[in-house]
Symmetry: C2
């Protein structure tokens, strides 16, 4: 954890008492992604897993579609730079970039999406479902993993899970970066199927939904709130969106057929006894 | 509140019980800012106070420095567009824009700032200080004002306060937008001095710090965590940064001389008795 946090001296106030003491805050670093030698974007992020961040960013923003397109990826952590080279040296026209970055990414921009395009992309099995009890246990595992948060209170977490456990997990000062990192790790490792659950500590706005759709994620679980636009997109794109997942409680905003409810064994026995 | 929230049908799960019910989620809308007829940026935001959002965004990102530069500002809420016309029809070169938006704004980008420039801008009286008790009471007033949050859990709040009460307050789905809205309202109303406290519900990253610096805000209070880069900038720029302000407790990360501790009246009496 030491690499992602920084220790400094602060003044702690409690009522009329002040104490000078050492405290830990989360690190924030600017990182620039170069795509085929073009300075693409600078992100403020937690300086860890920069290859995953870059790969996930390029994937989530639609620059690359799969692992095969990446010829080389190299992160220079010291200088805060990630170099990505794609097959065929895909050229990035600067005007397109300007437009792209203004209209997408980072919770500030938006371009209306062709929902048909994303629906086609969603390849999860029609019968991929998970019990509500699994949502609760995945969320518990997710909370337990959040180490930097417990230490500093300053980061968001994101994870990818199969129907029984979390298989990829990361943390970042940015809600979007954390999701880019898990999608990037999945892309670079290139081993997983499409029956995955995305878990996020953050609010689900439309741009988060679009990242999940690009990643062909059928189920999104958040411990926070969604926006109306995220719910609308989730309904259009066939994604199951679960919010306020806390303990055994949760709100299911769309495609609730993927969340199954198992009656308690006791209830089942009772029913069997009744019949 | 009705305009900023949307009512929809959801499935609520609690253990093995599911109920279909109506719930309220926060609205999210794309809004495009045109600066002198150039399509500058599209933001995802809460569709309210769009003039304040646009003015604050332009100010916080350094496009305009004061109210006088704005000749006309007009928001078309229905189409999600804000038109801003500046004196002298300042031209925005597209390449500059591309670079700007990639490197600043929205918690994703960063351009290293000339800290000397900001220090010069910070015009707060050297003797502007507030008691720790006032930090606590401002935070309490701040929490009480957060109406949409209480209803939906989906927004961030921001406020500007003088040394006794909150004078400007707003909410938005975006941490940065909420701050843009309060800085924008202050700019357009153009009535306030520089002895102001900025309050935010969100984490304080370097870009939030820079917005405050551009707004010549001497004190920032957050109920959440700061990053190390935000603390470093606050120290360099002479800004007092208070985090984890909850009840009578808080952490002061920089320039703690602006937060004064008043001994309890009782203690004071005791001391007087002792002397």
């Amino acid at each position: 954890m030491r690499n992602e946090t920084h220790r400094l001296n602060i003044v702690r106030v409690s009522g009329t008492t002040t104490t000078r003491q050492s405290d830990v805050v989360v690190k924030e670093s600017p990182v620039t992604i170069f795509l085929n030698d073009v300075d693409l974007v600078s992100l403020l992020c937690s300086p860890k897993d920069l290859e995953y961040l870059a790969a996930g960013f390029l994937f989530g923003e639609g620059f690359i579609k799969n692992r095969v397109e990446i010829k080389r990826i190299f992160a220079d952590k010291k200088d805060g730079v990630v170099w990505v080279e794609t097959v065929g040296q895909k050229k990035v026209r600067e005007n397109i970039l300007a437009k792209r970055f203004i209209t997408t990414g980072c919770g500030r921009g938006f371009s209306f999406v062709d929902s048909a395009e994303y629906s086609k992309g969603l390849k999860a099995d029609r019968d991929f479902r998970i019990p509500a009890g699994t949502v609760a246990s995945l969320m518990k595992e997710f909370q337990n993993k959040s180490q930097i948060y417990r230490e500093t209170g300053g980061v968001h977490s994101a994870g990818l899970a199969n129907s029984s456990r979390i298989v990829i997990f990361n943390e970042d000062i940015g809600r979007h970066n954390a999701i880019d990192k898990v999608l990037g790790e999945r892309l670079l490792k290139g081993t997983m199927n499409d029956n995955l659950v995305m878990i996020t500590s953050g609010r689900v706005s439309s741009d988060i939904l679009i990242k999940a759709a690009r990643g062909r994620i059928p189920i999104i679980i958040s411990r926070s709130a969604p926006t109306d636009l995220a719910v609308r997109l989730a309904r259009e794109l066939g994604i199951t969106l679960v919010g306020f997942a806390r303990g055994s409680r949760m709100n299911v905003y769309s495609n609730e057929w993927r969340i199954t409810i198992k009656p308690h064994r006791k209830q089942r026995n009772q029913r069997m006894g009744e019949s």
